[in-house]
Structures are given as structure tokens and as C-alpha cells.
């Protein structure tokens, strides 16, 4: 790695070492992400394999042998006898996949539009930023539900479950690109007038090359921060949509779907079915958010 | 070392430290000088030489983690280097006037200049409101603002850059301070306006017997405005003496280089003398004399011993071989 990246990273690394919150958050996030990625290897059961399910195991309490089968489940089972621990691992996979992909989608869209708006200016900028303004007046969840509803209307019934995840990603991504676009546009407006950009124009570089090779690398720090914080928001948005029943289908349950399933049993005493997925969601979103907060402080030279 | 009882401001062996995570930086190192009533002392040096840091230390405006590590600062016979918080703030308002490079940051954009002048006068002088208003108008007239009676109710943004700097000077003077610090007061201004501001500062300081510390990087301003000049290099005083002597007959090798590299208005296209290299960064100061790596006369002694200390009120350079250089 180059000297600049090293030096730059060493400052960030230093501030990282001095922030216990950041260290713990990063560890928690890493553990959760690894657990999700390697879910098939870690999970004691495959909750999506009907053959491995035994309805007799339904409603097992955590850490107690089942009255009929004698099997013990760490975090208990749900009504169909699925191991809650395993469903959480698999559910986290869906949640994280949707979260990451949605943020990536929002990032690419937002950064591109922000760069173009900031660099080209004029009517292009006006149109892009007015669309962004209009979008901001709708709550993100509403936008996502709208897109979800439209998608549901145009997809044939038999494909709905397959496309559900991708509709979810697009819905969350589309409701989230605005902040990327705004920040990148602002940073681009500053960079655009710097003399190194003039120097590049002067030698006849095309606008595309200037935006991509000169301006983009200089506006990425704030994007990184927003992306991290957006990840937490996207995971929560996904859970919210799934909880409302417009997200991940029960055949591919995410954490939100699990919470929705669990709330049906909350008042009948099977508290573990909702509690453990909910706690997992909380810990995941909180750690990612704390990490984002720390990153913002570490990359903001004014606060350092 | 004894302080000079005649002087308005006496600074003795001032050291400013900035602890960092790697080491302790020393942007101001054993600086001593006096400013007499009615005298303008110029502090000149390149960026990073410690001239603004010295100024900020004197008026108690160092921002943490920078702090005065040792040394004494006396203003009108009182020691002020240990003052902090409210006493320092009161002292600054009453006895010290401040003029900075950017007049916009020195003025509150939300208040009219009249409000700001009256507020400062009322806080520091025992006068009635009407009298404060009259004094504010007089102050504006004195710094050459036309139609002061009407313009006193204008906001800072309604003035041009040069007029704004005049307002700042009026504000700095309105509590009748005995000492004014002017940090690059004309750097942001155009040549023609700069000349006006310098003439104004000089006239006011002479009339009121105010001591002025004028910090600038512009040798021309130093020549025209100051009585004595202190040349700073890497946080230390390299040379201190009457302006004319230092500029026409510099003694320290750095001052000599500095004069040679300044293009003279009266000279033609011949090559400028240049000092090779650049000022060392604070975290990599050389041992011995700070200037020795760039000095063509450097000898063994310069590499090992720190440069000799400059006593205040002495026209000599902080160099081991001042006498030798001219033999």
C-alpha cells in the first residue's frame, strides 16, 4: 500500500485503538457477519429443510429438553419445531444481504447522480436535486412500500417469493440514495473549483475522466461514513418492511420476518420466539451505528 | 533577566509547548522582547516561524493543547502570563486591542458596528450610554470612516474590506488600550488600501502612545510601519533591532538571506539570492542552532550548541559568529 494510504490509515487506526466503543462494535459486527456467512456450517439445524423438522419439537423452551422428544434447543423452537438459533443465523444472512446490497445500490446511484449534478451543474443539477428533494418529503418506508406494491402488482404469483428479496433491495436502495447524492454533490462543488481540476481541464481531459479519476477519490470519505450509518438504517428498514409483511417471505425469513412470526406468540407465553431475533437485530443495528459514528468522528478533521 | 520598567510590554524567555501524541512541539522557544509606549515592534518570519503563536501567547489566546510552558509576560508592570479565564478576558478588553487578518471574523455579523463599539466602551470605561455613543462616533471618525453618524447603525457586511478593517481598529482602540496586537492586518487587503491602514495605525499609535506588536510576513510593511523589528526563525528570535539597521545591515545569516531574497522595487532583473532548503518542521528541529543546516557559514559549534540567546533591547543576532562573519 502506498505511503499516503498508510499514513492516513495510521491516524484512523490510532483513533480506533483509543475508542473502546469502536473496538467492541467492530468485534460484534464481525462476529455477527461471520456467523451469518457461515450459517450453514454453524447452525445445528437447517430450518428450511422440511425433512429435518419435527413438529413434535414445537414450542420447546430455551435450554430445556422437549417434553416429547427430549431434544434440547439453546434458544428454543417455534411453533413448527424450527430451532430459533438456526433461524436467527439464517435470518441474519437475509437481513445482512439485503442491507449490504441495498446500501451498495443506493451508494452507486447516489454517488453517480451527485457527481454528475455537482460537476455538470445547470439544468442537469436542478433536475437531479429537485427529484431528491421531492423524494425526501416521503418517509423512506413509504417509498419502499410503494415500490414493493408496484412490484407485487406486476410480478406473476409464482415468482413473487423469488423476486421479493430483490424488490426489497431496490425499494430500500431507492429510498436511500438521496443522502449520498446530496453529500457527494456538495463535496463535488468544492472540489470542482480547486485548481487541480482546472489543471486537468486545461490539458483536455474529458469530463467523465475528471469526475472519475480526479474528483471521485476526493469525495469518498464522507461516503464511507454515510454508507456505514445507512447500513444500520437499511437493516432496520428491511426488518420493518418484513415485519409489516411486505418484505422477506416466510420461506426466506429475515430477522424482521422472524419478529413478525414471533409476535403472534408473545401473549401466549412463548416469549423466546420473538425475543432472541429482536435482540439480535438490536445488537446488529446498534453496533453498525456506533461504528458509523466513530468513523464519522475519525474522518472529520475538524473534530479530531 | 530583569524586565524593562519603562516598557509597556515585556516578554521574558517565553516558551510555548504543544504536547502531541508523539512528542512535545515547541513553537515558541525562549523569546524575549520589550515594546515601549508609542513604539511599533514588527515581528517578521515565514509561515511556521512562531510569530502568530507568540502573539497569541502574549494575549492569552493560545488554543489547547498549546500552553505557556515557562517565561514571564509583563504588561504595564503587571505579570499577566498566568492569568486565565475572566481576569484575562477583562484585561484583553481593557488594556489590549486586537486586529486580525480577516476583519470579518473579528466583528459579530449580527450586531451593528455601533452596538459592538458601545458595548465594548460601556464594559471597560465608566461612562454613560450617551457618552459611549458619542465616543463610538468619535472613534469611527478617527479611523477615517466617512459619515460616521449614519454608518454607526450599519452591519459589518455593509462595509468594504478596507472599511471593515478600519472598524476593527476603531473597536480595538475604543477602550483606550495601552497595547495593540495586529496580526497580518493588511494581508487580505489590496495595495492601495493597505497603505491607508498602515498610515492609520502609525498615526494612532503615535498620538496615543500605544505600544503595537505588528505581526506580518511582508518586509515592505515592516520597513514602512515599524520602529524595531524581531526576525523569527523556527520559534526563536534570530535578530532583533531597529528596523532600519536590521533591514539595511542584517547580522544574522538568516536575516541576510531573507533580505537578499526579497525582490527590491528599485532593482532590476538580476538573480535573487536564495536560502537553500526550507524551514525545519517543529517535529524535526535540528540539534544546535536551528538555522545551521541552511547556513553557509555553519561550523562545528553551530551543530552542537544552541544559538546564543538574544537579550531584549539589543541589536545583535542570535548567532555564534556574528562578529566573524563581517571581519
Amino acid at each position: 500500500m502506498s505511503a499516503l494510504i498508510l499514513a492516513w490509515h495510521s491516524d484512523v487506526a490510532w483513533s480506533f485503538r483509543r475508542s473502546p466503543v469502536a473496538v467492541v462494535s467492530l468485534m460484534v459486527v464481525l462476529i455477527l457477519v461471520l456467523a451469518a456467512v457461515f450459517a450453514p456450517l454453524i447452525a445445528p439445524y437447517n430450518p428450511f429443510d422440511p425433512a429435518s423438522l419435527n413438529l413434535m419439537n414445537g414450542f420447546s423452551k430455551p435450554m430445556e429438553p422437549n417434553a416429547f422428544t427430549g431434544d434440547t434447543f439453546w434458544l428454543g423452537t417455534d411453533d413448527q419445531g424450527r430451532d430459533v438459533f438456526s433461524t436467527i443465523l439464517y435470518g441474519m444472512r437475509i437481513s445482512l444481504f439485503v442491507g449490504f446490497t441495498a446500501v451498495l445500490f443506493a451508494l452507486v446511484l447516489g454517488v453517480t447522480l451527485g457527481l454528475v449534478a455537482g460537476y455538470v451543474g445547470g439544468w442537469t443539477e436542478t433536475i437531479i436535486m429537485r427529484i431528491a428533494d421531492v423524494q425526501l418529503t416521503f418517509p423512506a418506508i413509504l417509498v419502499a412500500m410503494l415500490i414493493f406494491g408496484i412490484a407485487k402488482g406486476v410480478t406473476p404469483v409464482e415468482h413473487r417469493d423469488e423476486v421479493a428479496i430483490w424488490v426489497l433491495i431496490i425499494a430500500i436502495g431507492l429510498s436511500d440514495w438521496v443522502q449520498f447524492a446530496r453529500v457527494v454533490r456538495g463535496a463535488t462543488l468544492v472540489e470542482r473549483n480547486k485548481e487541480y481540476v482546472m489543471a486537468a481541464k486545461l490539458i483536455g481531459r474529458k469530463p467523465g475522466a475528471i469526475m472519475l479519476r480526479h474528483i471521485l477519490p476526493n469525495v469518498l470519505s464522507p461516503v464511507l461514513v454515510i454508507a456505514t450509518i445507512s447500513l444500520a438504517l437499511a437493516i432496520i428498514a428491511e426488518a420493518t418492511l418484513s415485519f409489516l409483511g411486505v418484505g422477506a417471505p416466510p420461506t426466506q425469513p429475515s430477522l424482521g420476518t422472524l419478529i413478525r412470526i414471533g409476535q403472534g406468540f408473545l401473549f401466549s407465553g412463548e416469549w423466546w420466539i420473538i425475543l432472541f431475533p429482536a435482540v439480535t437485530l438490536l445488537v446488529l443495528a446498534l453496533s453498525v451505528n456506533l461504528l458509523g459514528d466513530w468513523l464519522r468522528d475519525a474522518l472529520n478533521p475538524k473534530l479530531r | 533577566m530583569n524586565r524593562n520598567s519603562e516598557a509597556t510590554l515585556s516578554v521574558r524567555d517565553l516558551i510555548v509547548d504543544i504536547p502531541t501524541r508523539h512528542s512535545v512541539l515547541r513553537p515558541v522557544d525562549r523569546v524575549s522582547f520589550d515594546i515601549a509606549p508609542g513604539e511599533i515592534l514588527g515581528v517578521v518570519g515565514e509561515s511556521g516561524a512562531g510569530k502568530s503563536m507568540t502573539g497569541n501567547a502574549v494575549i492569552g489566546l493560545l488554543t489547547r493543547p498549546a500552553h505557556i510552558a515557562s517565561g514571564e509576560i509583563w504588561l504595564n508592570g503587571d505579570r499577566i502570563d498566568h492569568l486565565q479565564g475572566e481576569p484575562m478576558r477583562r484585561l484583553r478588553g481593557k488594556q489590549i486591542g486586537m486586529v486580525f487578518q480577516d476583519p470579518l471574523t473579528s466583528l459579530n455579523p449580527l450586531l451593528t458596528i455601533g452596538d459592538q463599539l458601545r458595548e465594548t466602551i460601556l464594559e471597560h470605561l465608566d461612562v454613560s450610554k450617551d457618552e459611549a455613543h458619542q465616543r463610538a462616533i468619535d472613534g469611527l471618525k478617527e479611523v477615517g470612516i466617512p459619515a460616521a453618524e449614519e454608518r454607526i447603525d450599519a452591519y459589518p457586511h455593509q462595509f468594504s474590506g478596507g472599511m471593515r478593517q478600519r472598524v476593527v481598529i476603531a473597536l480595538a482602540l475604543c477602550a483606550e488600550p495601552s497595547f495593540i496586537i495586529a496580526d497580518e492586518p493588511t494581508t487580505a487587503l489590496d495595495v492601495s488600501v493597505q497603505a491607508q491602514i498602515i498610515a492609520l495605525l502609525r498615526r494612532l499609535c503615535r498620538e496615543r502612545q500605544t505600544a503595537v506588536m505588528l505581526i506580518t510576513h511582508d518586509m515592505g510593511v515592516i520597513a514602512e510601519a515599524t520602529d524595531r523589528v524581531a526576525v523569527m526563525y523556527a520559534g526563536r528570535l534570530a535578530e532583533l533591532g531597529p528596523t532600519k539597521d536590521v533591514l539595511t545591515d542584517p547580522k544574522h545569516p538568516y536575516s541576510i538571506g531573507l533580505m537578499g531574497s526579497t525582490p527590491l522595487a528599485s532593482a532590476g532583473k538580476e538573480r535573487l539570492t536564495q536560502i537553500e532548503g526550507a524551514m525545519p518542521r517543529l517535529d524535526s528541529l535540528p540539534d544546535g542552532c536551528a538555522f545551521h543546516p541552511r547556513c553557509e557559514h555553519a561550523r562545528e559549534r553551530c551543530r552542537q550548541n544552541p544559538e546564543p540567546r538574544l537579550e531584549a533591547y539589543q541589536n545583535r543576532a542570535a548567532c555564534w559568529f556574528v562578529e566573524d562573519l563581517y571581519l
Partner: protein, 325 residues
């Protein structure tokens, strides 16, 4: 000697009005700022042409128009006889453009912080698909840096060293004209001397032509062969260096020279100039300098003076013949 750059009747007007909705509500007309007003001069090959003026005089705008960063509103820029903005043959324009380079004022903003020095320096050549082997190293040594610096990033250099890198980049495409916009205003005196000396050396070595834009009279006097003085977008006086500095004809030039702080001006009690630069959106009628001019007569308030030859000087003043008395 041949003429390398000819600036003909150059005018640049900026629209500085508020958005149309505000104008509609506040019932205001469009606000137009004439940054450059019918400026006309020529630069001979292998000479240094100095442009001086205070803020708002349009000197930087002229520089940007000449290098092609900003189109003029009227008038023309001819370089090697090719009209930069009217020539139809793109190949010709491209060839001329590769002969022009620029050095900027702020050495901290003019180098992309995320690029290595080698890529920065060779970009002008790389952008045109040229061979850049060992080029950065060679250029770095020519501007007094070390070949090893090619692999570093800009933040590892001081202001003066960065300006050397900018000069190396400007030299990469082997230009004939380099426009220098306040190249040393951000530098300390001792570093400024190093950079000015380097620029002079390179001029001799490569036969360069400089357009040297600055507000600093002493620096311009040190560098330039011929000097043009701008006031509110207009060229008010032009002469070779010694004539201009020894016998300025325009009252503005006289005022500027008088006001500039002098190294030997100990305790000088010169009367400072009157007034400040007027608002460029509503410039004064007639001669733009008349409200501040100590010798203005009735005619100056109504009749804008043309640039005309008086002795070896071109000057825009009705009273140029008597202004020195």
C-alpha cells in the same frame, strides 16, 4: 521576434444575478459584471509579460481565457496565429492548446491529493497518449527535486516543493507559453526567491514565454519584460518594465507604485491613496478611475479614454501627457 499571443479586444461578462425567481419577486434586472473590458495586448515569444492589478481587476480571468478554461464574451485570443475560440480545425486548436500550460496560485489545491507525484506530472502527456517512461523523474530533477520523489504523495511536500511539482507538470507537455497566475503569492519570501529563480532558469533553458499575473509590483518588476496594468477590467497602461516603473503615465499606476510598501521606505509618510476600488457591477461613468483620480477633469467623467500611444507607452488617460507634472 515573433508574436506568440495576441489578445484582441477581449471582453468577458459574468452573469452575477440572483436566480430568476428572486429577480421576479424583487423586480430586479439581471446583474452583469464586466470582468474584462476590451483588453488588447500582444506577447512576444521568449519574453515575460506581466499583468498587474488589484482584486477585481480581471487579471485572473484573462489568464483563464488565454489557457482555454473560460470562453470570452467577445474578442479573440490568437496563439501562434490560431484563433483559439473561432478556429474550425480541431487538430489545429488541439496542437496550440498543448503549447499552453498554467501554474496556479495555491500549491495546496493545484495537486490532486490522492495522486502520486509521478502521475500528476505526467498527466498532460499521458492524457494525449504520449510516452511517459522516466519522464517524471527527469522533470523532478529539472525543477530541483529528487527523482525519488516521484513515488510520493503531494502532502509530503512543503508549499515551495509543491509549486516545483506544479512547474514540472507544466513543463511535461513541452509548452511554449506558461500562464502563471500569482505563482508565488502563497509562498514565503525565501521560498518565493527559489521559485522565481527556477522560473527564470527554465525560461532560458527551454525558451519559454510567460504571462505573469500578480498583484505584487516588486515581483512583477523582477520578472517581467513588459508590463500591463489593469484597473476594473481595463488595460489602463502598458509599457516595457523600466519605462513603466520609472515613468508611469497613468494616475492609477502612479498611485499603485506610490502606495506599495518599499523596503527602503523607513518611516515613509506618504499620503495614502484616496478611496477604494468601486463596485464592478456599477462601474463609474467615463474613465473608471476618475472618482479616485487626483487630476481628473470634467471630461474624464463622461468620456472613457482609449488606449493610445504616448512615447513608448500605451496609456488610457486623457491627461497622459501632463500627468507626470
Amino acid at each position: 521576434m515573433s508574436i506568440l499571443v495576441a489578445v484582441r479586444n477581449l471582453t468577458r461578462i459574468f452573469d452575477v444575478s440572483k436566480p430568476w425567481l428572486n429577480r421576479l419577486i424583487e423586480r430586479r434586472d439581471k446583474a452583469l459584471l464586466t470582468a474584462v473590458n476590451k483588453v488588447d495586448f500582444e506577447i512576444e515569444e521568449r519574453t515575460v509579460y506581466g499583468l498587474v492589478g488589484e482584486s477585481g481587476s480581471g487579471k485572473s480571468t484573462i489568464g483563464k481565457i488565454i489557457v482555454g478554461l473560460l470562453p470570452p464574451s467577445a474578442g479573440a485570443v490568437e496563439i501562434e496565429g490560431v484563433d483559439l475560440y473561432r478556429e474550425e480545425d480541431d487538430a489545429k486548436v488541439d496542437a496550440v492548446r498543448s503549447d499552453i500550460q498554467m501554474i496556479f496560485q495555491d500549491p495546496y489545491a493545484s495537486l490532486n491529493p490522492r495522486w502520486k507525484v509521478a502521475s500528476i506530472i505526467t498527466e498532460p502527456v499521458a492524457a494525449r497518449g504520449g510516452d511517459t517512461t522516466d519522464m517524471a523523474e527527469k522533470l523532478l530533477e529539472q525543477v530541483g527535486l529528487s527523482a525519488r520523489d516521484a513515488g510520493k504523495y503531494p502532502h509530503e511536500f512543503s508549499g515551495g516543493q509543491r509549486q516545483r511539482i506544479c512547474i514540472a507538470r507544466a513543463l511535461a507537455s513541452e509548452p511554449r507559453l506558461i500562464v502563471c497566475d500569482e505563482p508565488t503569492s502563497a509562498l514565503d519570501v525565501s521560498v518565493q526567491a527559489q521559485v522565481l529563480n527556477l522560473m527564470s532558469d527554465l525560461q532560458d533553458e527551454f525558451g519559454l514565454t510567460y504571462l505573469f499575473i500578480s498583484h505584487d509590483l516588486t515581483v512583477v518588476r523582477h520578472m517581467a519584460d513588459k508590463v500591463g496594468v489593469l484597473y476594473l477590467g481595463q488595460l489602463v497602461e502598458e509599457a516595457d518594465r523600466d519605462t513603466l516603473f520609472d515613468a508611469p503615465l497613468h494616475p492609477y499606476t502612479q498611485m499603485l507604485l506610490e502606495a506599495a510598501p518599499k523596503l527602503d521606505g523607513f518611516g515613509r509618510e506618504a499620503t495614502p491613496p484616496e478611496g477604494e476600488i468601486p463596485d464592478p457591477i456599477n462601474p463609474p461613468s467615463g474613465c473608471v478611475f476618475h472618482p479616485r483620480c487626483p487630476i481628473a477633469v470634467e471630461r474624464c467623467k463622461v468620456d472613457p479614454p482609449e488606449l493610445r500611444g504616448v512615447g513608448k507607452t500605451r496609456v488610457a488617460c486623457h491627461l497622459a501627457e501632463t500627468s507626470r507634472d
